[in-house]
Symmetry: C2
Subunit: 295 residues, 2 copies
Amino acid sequence: MIGKLEMFIALANEQHFGRAAQSLGLTQPTLSTGIKQLEEQLGVQLVRRGSRYGGLTPEGQRALEWARQIVGDVRRFRDEMRYSREGLSGRLRLAVIPTALTWASRLVAGFQHRHEKVRFTIQSRTSIEILAMLENLEIDAGVSYLDNEPLGRVSTVPLYRESYTMICAQGHRLAKRDSVDWAEIGGEKLCLLTPDMQNRRIINKAFMDSGQAPVAEMESNSTVVLVSYVERGDWVTILPDDLARFLAAGKGLSIVPIRSPGEAHSVGLVAPYQEPHTPVLQALLDEAGALAKSD
Amino acid sequence: MIGKLEMFIALANEQHFGRAAQSLGLTQPTLSTGIKQLEEQLGVQLVRRGSRYGGLTPEGQRALEWARQIVGDVRRFRDEMRYSREGLSGRLRLAVIPTALTWASRLVAGFQHRHEKVRFTIQSRTSIEILAMLENLEIDAGVSYLDNEPLGRVSTVPLYRESYTMICAQGHRLAKRDSVDWAEIGGEKLCLLTPDMQNRRIINKAFMDSGQAPVAEMESNSTVVLVSYVERGDWVTILPDDLARFLAAGKGLSIVPIRSPGEAHSVGLVAPYQEPHTPVLQALLDEAGALAKSD
DNA sequence: GTTTTCCGATAGGGATTTTCTATCACCCTC
DNA sequence: GAGGGTGATAGAAAATCCCTATCGGAAAAC
C-alpha cells in the first residue's frame, strides 16, 4: 500500500508514467499496474487516461493529499526510529535560493561540525520550486524568502534579512561611492537573475518604486555568471551583501551598498508543516534559530 | 508495512501474541514473524520478550503512537474514497455508557433514517473503556461524559445534560413525593451501577456532598438488572430521567426527580481528535449537533 | 496521407514475500 | 518432574511483486 502511494505521488509529480517509474527505480509496467491496483483497492479512478497521462480526477486530487500525509508520516516514523538507534544521522536534502547559498553553507557547516553522521544534499532552486519540492517530499527543508510571496502550510525559522549591494568593476563611475540608490543604478548596464527568481522580482519592484523601468541586458539563473560578467566589463549587478562579499572577493570589484527605502526581505529555513518533525530536521531548525539569534 | 503496523497495534492492545493474531484473523506464527520483521525494518526492538510478552520498549511506545497515527490515516483515507464512490455507507462502531443508551438509540435511529446504507454496532461500555477503544481504533466514536473526568485528545459534541431521578416501587414510602433530595435517599436499600462506571462515581459524589456515605446493597453493570430489582422489592435505584422513563414504563414503578444542588453532567459524542474525520463520522457529529440544539 | 515516435496497457514468467501447519523450546505452576 | 501455556522456528503452499517483451493507439513529423 505505501509503495503504491509513493508511486502515485511520483506520478502526480512527473505527470508521466515512464518518468515517474524511473524516479523510483522501477519500470513503467510496474508503476502502471501499481496505479491500477491502487485504484482497484480504493474503488475509485484516480488518474484520467486516454493513451497518455491526462491529469488527476477530483478523487485523485484528494487522494494525493492523503498520500502525501501518509507517506510523509511513514518517513518521519522511520527517521525517528533510526534516530533512537544511532542518533542524528542520515541525509538531509535542502533546496536553497541562489542568493542564500552562502548562508546555507554557513548553517550546514556549523550543523555538520556538531553532528558528523549527518550528510547533506544542497540544491540551488527558485523559491517556487522549493515549495513544490517540499510538498512532493523531494526535499526535507529549504532556505527561501519568508515574506513577499505566499508560502502555504510550512514551518519557518527566520535566518536573516537581505540588504542589497551593487557590484561593479573598480573603474566604474559608481565604484568609489559610499552608497547609491535605486534610481542611480537604473541607467547602468544591468545583469540580473532571471525573472523566475523571486530575488529578481524583488529587485524589479525596488526599481519600480524608484520610478525606474529596469532592463537587464544580461540575465542568468546563476549568481556566478552575473559576477563573472561584471568582472570583465562595465556591467553592474545587484546581490545581497553577504553573497556579494563572497563572490567579489579578490577580483578587483567594488561593492557599494544601496540605500533602500523599502523593507528588507526576510530569508529563513522552511520545513513541512507536519508535526512532529524528524529529529534531524528538528535539530537543524534549532541550529537555524540559534544562528539567527547570534547574528 | 501497514499490515505490520496493524499487527503491532493489535499486539499492544491484547498484550498477547496469540490473541492479537486471532483478533486480526491471523495465526500466531504470522503475527510473530510480522512483529519481528517490523523490528528488523526499523532497526529497533519494539517488544520486550522472554518466553512471553513483556510489554513495549520505550521505542515501542513511541512507535505505537506513530502506528496509530498512520493506520488511522489510512483508514480515514479509504473511508473517504469509499464515500466518493457510494456516498455515506459502511459500519460505524459506537461504544456508549449504559445511562446514555436510549439517547444513543435516538441519535442513531435518526441518522440511519436519513442514511440507510450506514450500518451500526453499538456496545455498552464504561467511559474509561470508551477512551481506550478510541485510542486503539476499535471504535469510531463513543457517547460518554464530557466533563467530570479527563478525556484526552478527542473531538466532542455535547448532546444533553443528565438529571437524576429515583426509581422505586409504587408502594414505597417515597413513591408519592414530588421530589426528593440526596440526603433522603441515602438510607434506602440502594441498587446501583458498579463503581467502575463513571455514573456511579458521580452518584457517590452527590451522596458525599449531602453528607451521606452510600452503601449499595446490590450492584450491577447493567441498568436492566437495577430496574428489575426495583420492580420486585423495596429497592431504590437512581438513573437519568430519560433512561428511567424508558425502563420503568408499564411496570408500576414510580419515578421521582431528585433535587440536585450540584452541576448536571454533560453527555456527548466523542470522536478521535484527528482531522479530517471520515465523511460518515462527520455526518454523525453533525447529526448530534443538530439533535442537541433541537432539544 | 503515410510514417515515425511516443506513451501507456497487457501478457507471461521468475523471484520474493506472505501465511499457513507442524513442531520445538522455554518458563511457570502444580 | 509433569503439564499447560506462550512465543519462536521450519518448511511448504499461495500470493504478490517486478521484470522483459510486446501491443495498440494517438500525436507528431514528413
